[in-house]
């Protein structure tokens, strides 16, 4: 390949003059483009561009991935024909042109084709079309540029947005009044239809899903997702959600062939094959039914539990830490799979039916119904799902821990004394009594065998476990291990039992009333100092409880 051309001084002079006159005739040369960026000024006349046969290669020698300027590509889509738009079909590399309103187009949009003295685009089906793409200013708010597609905002009957100019067949924003001109009016087309992706709808997960999405074929539509990750309780801790975070869970984020197929395709967090393990059109859990939907079980068993297990999202390559699979994780994935193990001494009935007879009408329970509908309808123990306690949105919730009920766990955990518990402690009751019958536990006489669960020395009028009277510790004062108490005790005291509300096998530490005993019935609350089962009853150490500052209460007996 010969590189050096004959030196032809006269030819060069002519060429330079031609180039300069052309530049001057089209206005000032764009300050970001020097002549020599594209022109070989000292080659033979007629060979001003070295890459003329495929001009985008010339443009992309600067404007491309891994190069030195912004990322661009050409309009390669062939959905509506075999034409191919290339850089100079829309851009004049020499200057920002004057548009038909006398303003100046940005980004060198528009050319002088078709004999026009102002910016036009020579389109495949409509011939030369005027194009306006200039700074909008602050008059309309939001957009800094127009008109990608403005639905003839100026009302002159001419659709001159840079996207509209060419469109004659797409569904949205054609260059006449036909079709749908309402598609995301007021938004910037290239947020979703990126130049670098040939204007195909590929703006990135978070760019497009910051607003509701409807691809125009009816349900299912997609709600705005990004904002959900900023709610009080949410997945992706420690930072804003990114496109990469989406790819931890969604196959659509890594394989565009699954995008916009009217299905949500979830990845198996433990499988690197990048195939869908669960697919559904739209997800919901009907909490008024004790029959768990098939898709609920599918998502729970094959998706949620694959991540919330001891090895986390072992296939995720986002953060390099499978226990913190998202890009900004600041805490490990809670291993609830292990906590739901039916072999544990206590567990909520997610991985299998429970073993607590008090949750089953009949038999040893004395036919006392201790569950609220719909969980009170069977003579066998029901199985519940993640989504009976947690919201089914998956991304976030206004409630802490993505629960279906608002509880201020942070304030509760910050309390060091029952007397300082916030009122939200009562909300724990609201939460628990979504399933557990409130009248049994909150209002029954303390010594009534027929009404419900009995707490010796904790009467209704006295120290009942309700926020509306007596102390306000709520259910989790004794059950579930959420409360962090007893400053000064070893750090693995009761407060370490956080998360036990799902289940577990907790052995009381040596300094507690029931040292060495494996607890049952979720008796790992922060305000007690021990529990052991005695036949059909049990004994509790009062611990800090309402007796904080006094001696431990040894051996109080409970009938159930």
């Amino acid at each position: 390949m010969k590189r050096t051309k004959p030196f032809n001084f006269a030819g060069q002079v002519v060429l330079v003059l031609v180039i300069l006159s052309f530049s001057l005739s089209t206005g000032a040369l764009n300050p970001n483009h020097e002549c020599s960026y594209c022109h070989l000024l000292h080659s033979a006349p007629g060979q001003s561009l070295n890459c003329a046969p495929v001009v985008e290669a010339l443009c992309l020698s600067c404007h491309g991935d891994g190069l030195v300027a912004v990322e661009v590509d050409v309009h390669l889509g062939d959905k509506y024909g075999t034409f191919k738009m290339t850089c100079m079909d829309c851009h004049n590399p020499h200057s920002d042109m004057t548009n038909r309103f006398g303003g100046t187009n940005l980004l060198q949009v528009g050319r002088k084709t078709g004999g026009s003295s102002v910016a036009v685009i020579d389109t495949p089906n409509s011939g030369p079309r005027y194009v306006v793409f200039q700074e909008r200013g602050t008059d309309a708010g939001g957009l800094s540029q127009y008109s990608f597609a403005d639905n003839d905002e100026d009302g002159d009957g001419y659709y001159d947005g840079v996207c509209e100019a060419c469109h004659t067949q797409p569904t949205y924003h054609r260059n006449d009044s036909s079709g749908d001109h309402s598609h995301y009016m007021g938004r910037t087309c290239t947020i979703c239809h990126k130049h670098v992706e040939n204007f195909l709808p590929s703006g990135g997960c978070t760019a497009c899903h910051s607003v509701p999405q409807d691809k125009g074929d009816g349900p299912p539509t997609r709600r705005a997702m990004v904002g959900e990750f900023a709610l009080t309780g949410h997945h992706v801790s420690g930072g804003a959600v990114t496109d990469d975070d989406c790819a931890v869970c969604h196959l659509e984020a890594v394989n565009s062939g699954y995008h916009m197929n009217n299905m949500v395709d979830l990845l198996n967090p433990d499988d690197t094959s990048l195939s869908a393990v669960v697919s559904f059109a739209q997800f919901s859990r009907n909490t008024s039914s004790d029959t768990l939907e098939s898709w609920v079980m599918d998502v729970q068993d094959n998706f949620c539990m694959k991540c919330h297990d001891p090895d986390g999202a072992s296939a995720s390559n986002i953060s390099g830490n499978p226990l913190r699979p998202f890009s900004s994780g600041d805490r490990d994935v809670p291993d609830v799979f292990s906590r739901f193990d039916p072999g544990n001494s206590y567990y909520h009935a997610v991985r299998g039916a429970g073993s607590n007879p008090y949750c089953i009408p009949g038999g040893s329970n004395g036919n006392i119904i201790t569950m609220e509908p719909p969980w009170n309808q069977d003579s066998t123990h029901d199985v519940i799902s993640c989504f009976d306690c947690h919201v089914d949105g998956g991304h976030g919730s206004p409630n802490q821990r993505m629960l279906r009920t608002a509880i201020d766990f942070d304030a509760i955990e910050a309390a060091v004394d029952p007397a300082s518990l916030p009122a939200e402690g009562g909300n724990i009751e609201t939460f628990c009594t979504r399933c557990h019958k409130s009248t049994v536990y909150l209002t029954a006489p303390w010594n009534s065998e027929t009404a419900g669960s009995i707490f010796e020395y904790h009467s209704v009028s006295g120290n009942r476990h309700s926020s509306s009277g007596g102390n306000t510790m709520g259910c989790m004062g004794c059950h579930g291990g959420i409360v962090n108490f007893n400053a000064g005790t070893p750090p693995d005291g009761n407060g370490a039992a956080r998360g036990n509300i799902h289940g577990g096998t907790f052995v009381w530490p040596p300094w507690t009333f029931s040292s060495g005993d494996t607890t049952e019935h979720f008796m790992v609350g922060g305000w007690i100092s021990g529990w052991h089962t005695v036949g059909s009853t049990g004994e509790c150490g009062g611990g800090a409880c309402a007796h904080k500052g006094g001696p431990k209460q040894a051996g109080r007996t409970y009938t159930r």
Binding site: R3, S36, A57, N317
Partner: protein
């Protein structure tokens, strides 16, 4: 490949003079791993950018539009394996079982196993902004990361410890203007950095050669003058968009000019242009926006990412001089 009915065979005389001849039916000089397919196909190239050899002679190819690192068989030039990278993978390098990927989105170097399992990040605390290329000295355990946004080359240990930046902070050193790619000569302990220059500052496109500590040793200028603007007044520019580059350990520098789509071979010491290969076009033997190059140390085959053709090309024995 057999589909090339006409081809350009490149013969070299003993003195290293290049002769280009069209040959009918010849299929051995340049082969192509074409890959212009759907973006969702994990074994098809879409926007091949950077290259690196594996110990087996296969090629690791970064493709930021696919968001993947692909392994291309060195003989068949077919993509045989791939793994996804979340973000925009730019530079790629290989060392001791680790694949180093410059991730523009994550602004760091991500380290993967051969199977694509991510191991750790380098420079994720804001040290790296736009890692367009990576070169590695396996013996020294050094990683050279070209950061076009910061206009420098950052040197890390392969374990991830930041060591220094190139150029060294020395008043005598010319700063990099628009660095795009790098290569290392592990024998000479030299770092070669291609630099678009900056016309507005009167900095010509060039290749700058530094020692490992970042001190400038030499410059190969695109305008043939060793300085000045690349535009008017400077005759016969030799290259204007210097991209990927490679060295053969024998004092030869192989440089891609993605503007002219040529492979230029320079003598390291004299700066003399020894020969060119390629050239812009779609015919066999021609390239469209080539972006990276590697030269096989034994066979002297030259491999190039031919970006607009969405392919990896090989110039058989093109590195022989």
């Amino acid at each position: 490949m057999m589909k090339h009915l006409k081809f350009c065979i490149i013969l070299f005389a003993a003195a290293g003079i290049l002769i280009s001849l069209p040959v009918s039916g010849f299929s051995g000089a340049k082969e192509t791993a074409e890959g212009k397919g759907r973006k969702t196909d994990p074994h098809r190239l879409y926007y091949p950018l950077r290259l690196a050899f594996t110990p087996e002679g296969d090629l690791l190819v970064s493709d930021p539009r696919l968001g993947m690192i692909l392994t291309v068989d060195g003989k068949s030039l077919k993509a045989v394996q791939s793994f996804p990278v979340e973000g925009d993978p730019l530079g790629v390098a290989y060392s001791k079982g680790h694949i180093f990927v410059g991730n523009k989105s994550k602004k760091c170097i991500e380290v993967y196993t051969r199977s694509g399992k991510k191991q750790y990040n380098i420079g994720s605390r804001g040290d790296i902004r736009n890692p367009t290329d990576i070169a590695v000295d396996t013996e020294a355990g050094l990683l050279f990361v070209v950061d076009v946004s910061d206009k420098n080359v950052k040197v890390f240990s392969t374990k991830g410890r930041f060591l220094r930046s190139i150029p060294a902070p020395d008043p005598g050193n010319l700063q990099l203007a628009t660095p795009t790619a790098a290569a290392v000569d592990i024998g000479r302990k030299e770092v070669y950095v291609s630099d678009y220059g900056d016309d507005r500052l009167g900095i010509a496109p060039r290749v700058q050669i530094f020692d490992y500590n970042g001190f400038l040793l030499d410059t190969v200028s695109g305008d043939g003058s060793g300085g000045g603007g690349m535009g008017m007044g400077i005759p016969s520019p030799r290259f204007s968009r210097p991209q990927g580059l490679a060295v053969d350990g024998a004092g030869h520098l192989f440089l891609l000019d993605c503007f002219s789509s040529e492979i230029l071979v320079f003598d390291r010491d004299s700066g003399e242009l020894l020969k060119t290969l390629g050239g812009f076009g779609t015919d066999p033997g021609q390239l469209q926006l080539p972006l990276d190059i590697v030269v096989h140390p034994r066979t002297k085959d030259i491999y190039v990412t031919n970006n607009r053709a969405a392919a990896v090309e090989v110039f058989k024995k093109g590195g022989q001089l």
